[in-house]
Amino acid sequence: MIQVGLQHFLVVGALLFCLGILCVLTRRNAVAVLIGIELMLNAAGLNFIAFARHQGDLAGGSLLVLFVIVLAAAEAAVALALILAFRRQVRTLDVDQIDSLKG
């Protein structure tokens, strides 16, 4: 354990990103896939802020992460509306079975 610097935050971000990839690729439930995507977006945001903090332009990095957060919220809203529609029409949340565009 050494003094906390840039690398520590990058390692946390990398591990979080790997967990997100694992979640997206292995889970079958569509909501769980969405959870994985949110984890990956969070990991990217942590990297942005860590780099911004250690390279002198904290406001710029913060702005980028703010936009990412807003778009993540928008993406979650649309994805959940799609999940509700799929649930009603196809009677499943299994992403392996959701393979038709014309339900």
Binding site: M1, I2, Q3, V4, G5, L6, Q7, V11, V12, A14, L15, L16, F17, C18, L19, I21, L22, C23, V24, L25, T26, R27, V31, L34, I35, G36, E38, L39, N42, G45, I49, F51, A52, R53, H54, Q55, G56, L58, A59, G61, S62, L63, L66, F67, I69, V70, A72, A73, A77, V78, L80, A81, L82, I83, L84, A85, R87, R88, L93, D94
Partner: protein, 175 residues
């Protein structure tokens, strides 16, 4: 090596964040996964705070915990009877997913640890909210307005998609 209180706090928060995220990934009960995500998002907010990005930390709590998490819970409760809301992890998909995740980790972790990152010591005094606000209404005005248009489109689109009915017996929206 002397560890300061802030360092210890970082390790505690990082471990808590990763643990709750791992639980959300590996548990088979989706309700537990969503509630475990609460810890992840709060931990991320604290990490943002330790990087002195105070406004981002607050927005993280507001949007992720107050918005996305509630939305996820709504989706879980509306789509599945809670008892049977299990997450299956099929054997075939499991191996490939694990392979991809481990490969990404093998690439990212040494990169994060060994690359000669440019590190400049930055003395951050006080909140940076004023700078962000001026920037949003200044040189970032176009993205700011574009995002507001995107949000309007998302609101309308989400309502339309969520109202789709089978065969359109609702009489208003045909799928």
């Amino acid at each position: 090596m002397k560890l300061s209180l802030a360092d210890l706090l970082f390790y505690a928060v990082a471990v808590a964040t990763l643990t709750t995220a791992a639980y959300a990934v590996f548990t088979r009960n989706i309700v537990r996964a969503v509630f475990s995500l609460l810890g992840t998002f709060f931990g991320m907010a604290i990490l943002y705070g330790m990087l002195s990005a105070d406004f981002v930390a607050v927005v993280q709590v507001l949007v992720y915990v107050g918005g996305i998490l509630v939305l996820l819970l709504f989706a879980v409760m509306l789509t599945a009877n809670i008892e049977s809301a299990r997450l299956s992890s099929p054997a075939a998909g499991w191996s490939w997913g694990l392979l991809a995740a481990v490969a990404t980790g093998i690439i990212l972790l040494p990169l994060a640890l060994e690359a000669p990152w440019l590190q400049r010591e930055l003395d951050v005094a006080g909140p940076g909210t004023a700078t962000i606000g001026r920037s949003l209404l200044g040189n970032m005005l176009l993205p700011f307005e574009a995002v507001s248009v995107v949000l309007l489109g998302v609101v309308i689109g989400a309502v339309v998609v969520a109202r789709l009915r089978r065969g359109g017996q609702d009489g208003e929206v045909q799928r």
